[in-house]
Symmetry: C2
Subunit: 215 residues, 2 copies
């Protein structure tokens, strides 16, 4: 076995494709372009991934797998609500910061028309939702209620993802250099805290209002 070198070629393809997909979208990138960027022969793509869509599937699996492994243990922790929300948001921000390209490609709605890809996503989303049941309950979110579910943890995941999509877009164009420069470690400490406050007060306020209405 030459796993050290194997991995290097497969990994190079993976990373080259990831960067290209994130910028151009899956369908706009050709296998020749990927091969060129990865410094491998075209046939290596089919050798390792079977087909072009195989790379996309690998990206989706890698992203959701990392996401699950990152977020699940934090969701299972036994903390007071406020601390728990804060820690979850902090964890989420860190994840998206470290895995921006992965998330942009894997969490993009498009393409919806490749059944195998959609199947993968559905499987993962379902699994993650089930894994977050404890945290959801702590927030007072009943997953059988469509309204409550639509105000659950996915809400702040959407906000964070949106932020990093914007950041990534800004990074592609030099005119936004000053904006991007401000998004440093210190910023994300404050950002995570501010977001946590926003949702914390939001959830608490809603709960109070519901209790009043029940009286």
């Amino acid at each position: 076995m030459r796993t050290a070198q194997n991995k290097r070629a497969k990994q190079r393809i993976f990373e080259a494709a990831l960067a290209l997909f994130a910028r151009k979208g899956y369908a706009a990138v050709g296998v020749r372009e990927i091969a060129k960027k990865a410094h491998v022969n075209i046939s290596m793509i089919n050798y390792y991934f079977g087909e072009k869509a195989g790379i996309l599937k690998a990206i989706i699996n890698e992203c959701y797998d990392r996401y699950f492994k990152t977020i699940k243990p934090v969701g299972d922790e036994d903390l007071p609500v406020d601390e728990h929300i804060r820690k979850m948001i902090r964890t989420g921000v860190n994840f998206f910061r470290k895995n921006t390209e992965l998330a942009i490609v894997a969490f993009d709605v498009i393409p919806l028309d490749i059944p195998e890809v959609m199947g993968l996503k559905v499987k993962w989303v379902t699994g993650i939702r089930e894994g977050m049941e404890n945290f959801r309950k702590k927030l007072g979110v009943d997953s059988r209620d469509v309204l409550q579910e639509s105000l659950g943890p996915n809400v702040f995941v959407a906000v964070i993802l949106n932020h990093f999509q914007g950041k990534y877009a800004a990074e592609q164009y030099p005119q936004f250099k000053e904006y991007v420069a401000q998004l440093n470690d210190a910023f994300y400490e404050r950002y995570a805290d501010a977001l946590a406050d926003l949702f914390l007060y939001g959830y608490m306020g809603r709960k109070k209002k519901e209790n009043k209405e029940e009286e």
Copy 2:
């Protein structure tokens, strides 16, 4: 002039492309597929839109134009903060509900690599941001502060868009029929209200906290 018929063909191309782009992504859709769905000849696409990217540009312009015209007057209204947030969110929900495909295509981060398309988006986003200055001030958001800006109105726009992306995806697969069926008029009344509560309490809570810290 035969504008009545002209519009019909151009409009058919626009709508066919929109539906296909929303499902598959811009790059994955060929001009022949669009022409077939629109029941026009392939050359009609270049005749009306110059190039394939012309359709995408038209979609982006149409979406942002509608969005601006919908949201701007509401943002300029003179209402108490709580009512204002509520009305803005209600307006946003209605917009995304009516223009889901338009929003999915126009607000998608990808593709980032077509400078003309990115230029369009930047122009619109800048314009809309400037147009929302009054509302932003009322929320207590200083647009020169990156942190505050990243917690501004774009936060709940992201949440709403995320919801309708999910809904649209669910509509494409029959296994989610029951979920989609629950998303009716009544749901969206409650959804908009609940979202408004969430952010209202969130912003108020954050403001209180800031005041305390200043003491």
